[in-house]
Symmetry: C2
Subunit: 379 residues, 2 copies
């Protein structure tokens, strides 16, 4: 290793993925440097990270009481971080549609985006693909399922793939009876059985909206049709996904549920580096591994999201925005758990055919879907 | 596909692997032709195969009553089949040490050996490696475990591998108490829970000698130290093996227990071709997948084989030959199941340090080990 370390921007550095990423980068100073950090609003933790990692650029979206003369402020700090000359890899760990412009700017500038912000691809997959081709950038997934698929496929021809099977933990309500689901509380929904993550994605895991977002993400990342992408429930979250090849062979990537490895691999792909972030694999300790069918009728968000993906245009953006808004209302205690898919379904019925050909059209559809859900529940 | 089909020689065409291979080749006539067939003694089935596939060369090791003027006879027919000009790939499905010369001849002639005859590599790994380098040939494994590892590694750098975990079904005696094992009958030993195979390898699966042979085979095939190769019991035989990379990521290849895919992949590697030989993968039907520690103390053949591998020289050949002889005596009803590892251990203690530097030295050690076991049991 004689090359200089590559500068990494972490968008969302104070969140779950962001703090994991800083641990990963700390173990590999000869390969990576922390070039830029941005946070949404947690200025206390951001300050601490800045003192420890000395990034060239610091940004905060919602500036609080404390003022930092050298920090960039507001939503536009994300794009500024991405465009900083010291940055060559962007870890986009922003939550939700707010991450779109940063992803587009990065790939247009020919940079790698390690993408934890799957909403970016869901709402604007074709635009992101176009920007990659135009600017020479690339998207490398951080989601454990997509990282698994990428690891299985690295070096293989895309036309050799017959089918993907994404695994889903099933979330905290996997075994709950249908009626009880309707009135599950916020506390119930935040009890994820295998993964510790942020609040929004944890609720998405409980509704299975997260798996719908992942199916759409996989469609765009790997260029496969929706008929080639399936979902199976795997409560232990050890097999991160399966890839079936055209000859019937099935490859999989496995490990204890931890984001250390997917974050590292998104930075190093297709290379591998010695790392100690995950404990040695012991299949006996992880035994048994079980698989179940998805209860599609009881978790309608999955079907709604996949239908939106097939529909294309602005429908995936509407699905995503309606879901984000409904989850926010649920977390605020203003709607019930069962209202989340109801809000998504109504928004898609009303707005799913909106124009989705440009960034502005998509952001407009996103905004209309959020308003629709708020008005539907009179919030 | 405009290239001419590649000629395949099947050594051991009337056995379990051989008949599977003919089914595989039949599905891919545009890629492969049956150029040569050899059998040990089943001339009736061989005749039928010849009528169906019209090979350029036919050989039989033990010629019976019926004489076939155009067939080659005797042990040397294997090497003749390999050297036939129409043959470019050799599927070596001979049982035991008898397959060695054919493997050496094939790789010296720059041909690919799809190797189901693992004994070849076990007894003479360094010689086979040398012959590959000298002649430009290559060994591609047919064993499902090694095929799995090769599929996980294809296109990856060998130095990126930290560890292999070979799975073992545990055989029919996985859950038998130690005392009962000593007197297990031939019928008991031939009841393999997941794989239908020939008699010799089925008994090897019951003693775990087969897994020792596979550890040694993996050592030579993938250039890994014995410390990097582990074995775990996996009764369902669905995960065919695990590969742990240097960053802690684990890759695996899975499928229903069937040799269709490993045989096909050994012919097409690193390419994949559309094939229908295995049913679509359904993890729910295959659930649960369980993993257990190996009962090493109760199945001493595994430890004895790995120790022989570490010792090197002629020790692996002695292990293999003593095992082959002991299994033959067991199948003949002349020794007990528990005598198999006893015979191996005694042969290794007496002969394990023999010279193993040449083919002739190895064959001499092989012969001495067989005689030792016969004399030990006064057979």
């Amino acid at each position: 290793m004689t090359a200089a370390p590559r500068g990494v921007a972490i968008l969302g550095s104070t969140g779950s993925i962001g703090t994991t990423a800083l641990r990963v980068l700390q173990r590999h100073p000869e390969r990576f440097s922390v070039a830029a950090l941005t946070a949404f609003s947690n200025s206390a933790l951001l300050e601490e990270q800045v003192r420890q990692f000395h990034p060239s650029f610091v940004g905060i979206v919602q500036n609080g009481a404390s003022t930092h003369e050298t920090w960039a402020c507001g939503a536009e700090c994300l794009v500024k971080a991405v465009e900083h000359p010291d940055v060559s890899i962007v870890l986009n760990a922003v939550v939700g549609a707010a991450g779109l412009d940063a992803t587009l700017a990065a790939v247009r500038a020919g940079k790698r985006v390690a993408l934890a912000n799957k909403e970016t691809l869901v709402m604007a997959g074709p635009l992101v693909g176009e920007a990659c081709r135009a600017g020479g950038g690339e998207i490398v997934p951080v989601d454990s399922e997509h990282s698994a698929i990428l690891q299985c496929l690295a070096g293989r021809r895309p036309e050799d793939v017959r089918r993907l099977v994404l695994t889903a933990s099933g979330g905290p309500f996997r075994a709950w009876p249908r009626e009880r689901l309707q009135t599950a509380t916020v506390a119930d929904a935040l009890q994820h059985p295998t993964w510790r993550m942020g609040r929004k994605i944890t609720v998405d895991s409980a509704t299975l909206a997260n798996k719908a977002l992942e199916v759409i993400e996989a469609h765009f990342l790997f260029g496969l049709s929706y008929d080639q992408i399936e979902v199976v429930v795997h409560p232990q979250s050890v097999v991160h996904s399966f890839v079936e090849m055209v000859d019937g062979s099935v490859l999989a990537q496995l490990g204890v549920p931890s984001m250390e490895l997917p974050v590292l691999y998104a930075l190093t792909h297709p290379e591998r580096v010695h790392d100690t972030g995950v404990p040695p694999f012991d299949p006996v300790e992880l035994s048994p591994l079980t698989f179940e069918r998805v209860r599609s009728a009881d978790f309608p968000a999955l079907r709604l999201g996949i239908e939106a993906g097939r529909r294309g245009g602005a429908a995936p953006a509407v699905f995503n925005a309606a879901n984000e808004q409904a989850v926010a209302l649920f977390l605020d205690g203003r709607i019930r758990f069962g209202d989340i898919p109801r809000g998504i379904e109504a928004a898609l019925a009303a707005l799913g055919d909106a124009d989705g050909r440009t960034r502005d059209a998509l952001l407009a559809a996103d905004e209309r879907a959020r308003r629709f859900v708020r008005e539907m529940f009179a919030c």
